[in-house]
């Protein structure tokens, strides 16, 4: 009988009765062939591979991460609660040491969902990894977490949520933002003033194949993780770098994904995107699961797999080498940059527009951070949309100093209710979430 070398947990939730719309890539059919392959391979029968039923994420779990407008249940469906809950279940099982590693094979995905949520972006409503991580932080007191986002699209939502958090290292490998949605994730995006360097973006050229991904992993990702020393490594395991994916341009394969999983040794993997539902997902998911369980995956390959046809060009290789050099240089310089930023202004502001492509909403944000020398700094976000909502969201971080807590409460209390539809206070210090209606 087949026995895993690593006790591996799986939550498998294909949400066979939920879709964004009938012909949307994020539809009922998406994990159908994965289910077929996982079932047919008998993966859930492997000794040491344990399947768990997903818990439902709660509204409180969402409130720890997001500001949902007008409220949580207006922007999520039951599927989102199950999907986030599935990630949470895997996290709990890892923390309780029932399993050594776990894979939340769930949909819908979440890594494009930012701190403020007005609707769906990039097929995502709430950030299922962040919901899991913040739950684990509260329940188990873990502090340093690294997220390695291997989805082909830049994990801009996760980046946004952890932009100001020095205890969360966010590394995203993705197709260059000049060539793909959401158009962000450049190497100069390194995190806010109090967390500069803790966001690491590694944009890769189209047609990067196995060679390039594993090079980046070995030369940049693993050394940076080694430096950061996280207590928990989470892999946002998007599978759209595949050479058959219909909405991206990369040349990765199932063997590559499995090998990447083997080397990365993430504690938790959470499925993100990946829309080659027939040609890639069944094989990639089987490869990842086997690799997590410490089992042989050498015979996992796509039926049409021809390594020569998808090999990256010399030019791509050279480009990737340059990107890795830049990334490493940036990582080394980060402490210095942070020091400099902290000694500068008292408040830092940024203004930006965020487009919700799935729900067609345009949001304008003005974010104000108290650049605090003692903590990661309290944050306020003034957000309005072309659909007419205007909110103020105040976030007091997990390990806020007294002054930042006071500043946050003051922002919340003194906000003019006539100007906003909602005023929110997410106080992570005291684990409370307050709402004032305008």
């Amino acid at each position: 009988m087949l026995t895993s070398k690593t006790r591996t947990g799986v939550v498998f939730f294909p949400a066979f009765d939920w879709a964004i719309s009938a012909t949307h890539p994020e539809r009922e059919e998406r994990l159908l062939y994965t289910q077929d392959q996982v079932f047919e391979e008998g993966l859930l029968d492997i000794e040491g591979v344990i399947e768990f039923k997903p818990d439902l994420a709660t509204v409180d779990d969402i409130k720890r991460v997001h500001f949902c407008v007008p409220d949580e249940m207006s922007v999520v469906t039951e599927s989102h609660l199950i999907s986030a809950g599935g990630a949470k279940t895997v996290g709990i099982q890892v923390m309780e040491k029932h399993i050594e590693r776990g894979f939340a094979l769930v949909r819908p995905p979440g890594h494009h969902a930012m701190r403020v949520v007005h609707g769906a972006r990039g097929f995502c409503n709430v950030n299922i990894e962040a919901i899991m991580i913040e739950y684990l932080r509260k329940a188990y007191g873990i502090d340093r977490v690294a997220i390695v986002d291997t989805d082909c699209h830049h994990g801009d939502g996760t980046q946004d949520i952890y932009w100001h958090d020095p205890d969360t290292l966010f590394i995203s490998l993705h197709q260059d933002g000049r060539t793909l949605y959401p158009g962000s994730g450049f190497h100069y995006e390194i995190g806010g003033p109090t967390a500069a360097g803790m966001t690491v973006n590694i944009p890769l050229p189209p047609r990067t194949s196995e060679e390039g991904f594993l090079y980046v992993l070995d030369q940049a990702v693993l050394p940076i993780l080694e430096d950061f020393k996280p207590e928990l490594i989470v892999n946002s395991a998007g599978q759209d770098n595949h050479y058959t994916d219909p909405i991206t341009n990369m040349s990765f394969c199932a063997q590559g994904y499995a090998e990447l999983t083997r080397r990365l040794k993430a504690d938790i993997a959470v499925l993100e995107g990946g829309y080659s539902i027939e040609g890639a997902l069944p094989y990639v998911n089987v490869g990842i699961l086997l690799a997590m369980a410490g089992l042989d995956f050498s015979q996992v390959r796509e039926p049409d797999y021809q390594p020569d046809k998808i090999r990256q060009s010399g030019e791509v290789t050279k480009h990737i080498h340059r990107v890795v050099e830049e990334v490493l240089a940036g990582w080394k310089k980060a402490p210095e940059i942070r020091k400099k930023q902290l000694s500068g202004r008292k408040f830092a502001e940024r203004e930006r527009s965020i487009y919700y492509d799935t729900d067609n909403i345009l949001e304008s944000q003005r974010e104000t951070l108290r650049v605090c020398p003692d903590c990661s700094g309290v944050l306020s976000i003034d957000s309005s949309t072309d659909t007419g909502y205007h909110i103020l969201a105040v976030h007091i971080p997990r390990k806020a100093c007294k002054e930042c807590v006071d500043q946050g409460v003051k922002w919340y209390d003194s906000a003019d209710a006539r100007r906003f539809n909602r005023i929110f206070l997410q106080d992570r210090m005291n684990d409370q979430y307050l709402v004032r209606k305008g």
């Binding site: 059919e29 062939y33 079932f39 047919e40 029968d45 768990f52 997903p54 219909p246 015979q299």
Partner: protein, 566 residues
């Protein structure tokens, strides 16, 4: 009249029933070296003076194949597998004659790589040289397209005793289980056939030219002829028989926990409003996970004859059995001996029981009587805690749709039905430890034979259709047809019901027994480039497991005579 036989591990139980209830019943010790002798003796025991034409059917449940598998007394069997990409099929090796060959089919049933004739021919001649006569042929995704399995069979030709094809055994996806299931079916085939040919012969000699049915692991019956095609289905029919025997007395409105407390073990099962719960994929036996449709049963090593001993200053019961209770001449004290000490049973040597339990009482520093009570309480608690664990496992089973998850159906049995040798004694004490109502199954001593006799035919049909490819396949039925683009879920269900009806009748079912139901019907639109290119449809239908309709009144009669709970 119907004759029901259950060849159990310890006893062979036989009942002869008519519409008024149990006409006759008997129990003979099972001699594992001569099962046929036991069957004969059992039939003799109830048919004396009954005219052969008064008996309309014989239903038999036996541990024959189960034991053959557990004891490894099966025939040398070759397995030929074609896997294609995925998990290395070497992991599922069944023995020395295991061949991984070329050939690959994908999840939608499309051929990726063809079978190599010369490779199969070489294996065939090797097997002939080695004298292997049983072959199982299994390919990955053969339930979506059985082409490779049938091709291999055709190349092997007719020089083997039996060639079992994986796709004929179950429509469920699970390649490793399909390999194990095909292997086991091939491996027990000769044993099964020999035994049943002998049973048929001996019945015919008695002038009983009646249909013979065999009880399956799912609590249903099939004709003897049908069982020769898939003898593996008869494994674990022992627990199935007792579940079916308790079925007539179960609640119509709530869930029931069935406890069959035997000598060596206690088997547990769940009924949901009189319908037994099935294992979702298939049962596990002798280290093999299979696709054999079976009732969800859990067995623990705790029964009336389990060894009672001191361990780390405390009391331990089971999981081993060293023989009968000391009161009946056994070597070590047992829970049954505790019953003797308490004076609840008196058909043996109570003195032996007292002598056996005394050292344990001394070790615990308790009186003999208190020790006996404690043994008995401990046994009850262990059974209930194992049952609790089984129920929580059932309730934590993953589901795959939003509706199922939010529906959140949870099994919470409101009653417990107890059967098996020491049933009445256990029932009363179990009641003290649980909020559920505890009842003894009427005629608890032979309820399993009764269950076999009253069980009706059950079958299942799985249909898979893919309108983009224009196919509909029912692998177990050897059914394949081309379909048009308008083929949908409703047409699929209709087709599946037709196939099911045919299958049941072929297996010896009577039309009036057929209570057909849909257990799975899902339809996915396949979208390619934002246009619906076809439908992917999966339908599973079954005959609801249960009892022959005409014999409900027997149950009512029996229920009137509930034994005292001493």
């Amino acid at each position: 009249m119907i004759l029901g036989l259950d060849v159990g591990g310890t006893h062979t139980d036989v009942v002869l029933i008519d519409k008024d209830g149990i006409h006759r019943q008997t129990k003979v010790p099972t001699d594992h070296a001569d099962l046929l002798g036991c069957v004969r003796a059992g039939i003799e025991g109830v048919t004396g003076g009954i005219p052969p034409d008064g008996i309309s059917r014989v239903v038999l449940s036996t541990t024959l194949t189960t034991n053959a598998i557990i004891e490894g007394k099966t025939n040398e069997t070759a397995v030929i597998v074609s896997a294609g990409p995925g998990v290395d099929p070497e992991f599922f090796r069944t023995g020395p004659h295991y061949y991984c060959v070329a050939g690959s089919i994908d999840h939608r049933g499309r051929e990726i790589q063809s079978v190599k004739t010369s490779e199969i021919q070489a294996i065939a001649s090797k097997l002939k040289t080695d004298g292997v006569r049983q072959v199982a042929v299994v390919s990955k995704f053969s339930v979506r397209n059985p082409k490779h399995e049938t091709q291999v069979r055709d190349i092997l030709g007719d020089s083997f005793f039996n060639v079992v094809l994986g796709h004929r055994l179950s429509g469920n996806l699970n390649f490793p289980r399909r390999i194990a299931t095909a292997y086991l079916n091939a491996a027990v085939c000769e044993t099964h056939r020999r035994f049943f040919d002998a049973v048929r012969e001996s019945l015919e000699k008695k002038g009983l030219n009646v249909p013979i049915y065999v009880l399956k692991a799912d609590g249903g019956t099939m004709s003897l002829e049908a069982s020769l095609q898939c003898p593996g289905q008869t494994i674990l029919s022992g627990p199935a028989a007792s579940v079916m025997g308790s079925l007539p007395f179960a609640s119509e409105t709530e869930e029931t926990l069935v406890l069959d407390i035997g000598g060596t073990s206690t088997d547990m099962a769940i009924l949901i409003r009189k319908v037994p719960l099935l294992d979702p994929l298939g049962c596990e036996l002798g280290g093999y996970k299979t696709l054999i449709r079976a009732l969800k049963t859990v067995s623990i090593g705790l029964g009336g004859d389990s060894v009672v001993r001191l361990a780390d200053g405390g009391l331990s019961i089971g999981p081993d059995r060293k023989g009968p209770a000391m009161a009946y001449g056994g070597p070590v004290p047992t829970p049954t001996d505790a019953l003797f000490v308490l004076g609840k049973v008196n058909d043996g040597d109570a003195g032996s029981s007292r002598r056996g339990l005394q050292p344990i009482a001394d070790g615990l520093g308790m009186s003999l009587e208190d020790t006996a009570n404690r043994v008995f309480d401990e046994a009850c608690r262990k059974i209930l805690s194992a049952a609790g664990e089984m129920i929580s496992n059932i309730n934590s089973k993953p589901v795959y749709t939003v509706q199922e998850l939010l529906g959140g159906y949870q099994v919470r049995p409101g009653e417990i039905l107890v059967l098996g040798g020491p049933a009445p004694h256990f029932a009363r004490r179990l009641g003290d430890f649980t909020d559920s109502r505890v009842r003894v199954v009427p005629r608890w001593q032979v309820a399993n034979a009764l269950g076999a006799a009253l069980a009706k035919n059950t079958s299942e049909v799985t249909l898979f259709a893919d309108t983009e490819r224009g196919i509909a396949v029912a692998p177990e039925e050897d059914f394949y047809k081309t379909v048009k683009r308008d083929f949908d879920r409703e047409s699929a269900v209709r087709l599946a019901f037709d196939l099911l009806r045919d299958k049941c009748v072929k297996q010896g079912a009577v039309e009036s027994e057929l209570e057909m139901e849909v257990i799975e019907d899902i339809q996915f639109n396949m979208v390619r480039s934002f246009y619906t290119s076809g439908r992917n449809i999966r339908v599973k239908v079954q005959v609801k497991p249960g009892l022959i309709p005409g014999y409900r009144e027997i149950a009512d009669r029996l229920a009137e005579s509930v034994p005292p709970q001493t």
